[in-house]
Amino acid sequence: MNKSRRSFLKTAGISAFALSSGIAEPANEAYAKLAPGRYTRGETALTAKRWAMVVLTREFKTPQDYEPLIKACHSAHNVPDIAGRQNIKWLWLDAYAHVFPDDMNSHLDEYTRAASYPLLCNHCSNPPCVRVCPTQATYKMEDGIVAMDYHRCIGCRFCMAGCPYGARSFNFMDPRPHLANPAPNPTFPTRMSGVVEKCTFCAERLAVGRFPACVEASDGRLLFGDLENPSSDVRKALANNYSIRRKPSIGTQPGVYYII
């Protein structure tokens, strides 16, 4: 075959255009899908552009006030309670100095300094854990939730090193012996040893039209909603109160706000 330089360049140009412009896209998609059916969201699913949570910390008087929330979360997701440093944490409490270490105010009022604050995954807009994950086991979804696919997690723990909030826990051992038998929530999986886990903003509950377990258990003291919607509960609370986020200076843009 004798091809002129001109005809070769023509073909190469058209091919490059087709591949990069998306004309060839439908062919790729048909190849990628295996099942003959269609995938859609549930009819009752709650959707948002950017899910966020607001904690009304003054409504909680004692650390015990947070107990029902933690219990609701951990039993909904089969989170074990392991004594010692290898515990699994989805929702937990810590002191002001640890939660907001950037705040150097040494004359903070006694109540604010002594109170406990609930901690969970911040579902950052710029999540460092997602950036460092070598297998894309953790990823950010369209609605702002930083989610995990435990099937893909290889347990390298880069995400734990990357997360500035300590929101991730590693399963050093099989969690099942540390759970009640049968598991607290038989409709939700457990995890296995060797994977990292964390709060999911209850993506599985949002998919069936329910708010997160902790929000449901909080009697309105945790607000949950769409940060992009000006009429949502979270936006109204943020518009009318002074709120802070954890470690704002590192630029992760957390989705959990604390009204102090």
Binding site: G37, R41, G42, A45, P182, P186, F188, P189
Partner: protein, 126 residues
Amino acid sequence: MYNAKAVIFGILIFVGLCASPFWASFIGRDYKSTDIVLPKNEKNCIEDADFMRSQHMRLLNEWRDEALRNENRVYTALDGKKWVISLQNTCLKCHNSYEDFCQKCHVANSVYPYCWTCHIIPKGGK
């Protein structure tokens, strides 16, 4: 060729040994059904039986990615029936006996998927 007789004889023995599983199957046992027990209350699976038999593992992978990454948690099958995407809550609702369904084929085919280290089998067993 030097020592042609011995070399050819050796090659024949070698080929015969390599193909021994093939010869063994001629004198071996007959094909045995795995005797899986199909669900009683449901006639049709998500897609037709041939597809499910050969592709269920790939379908599960696709379901996982669609549900977890794209938040598409409903699958509309070819016959129009809608299924909630969940191994634990949808598949295992009909296929409620792990020992009589999943395990029989998996053991017969020497595959040992580790679904159940995380997903909970009905009745709480492991």
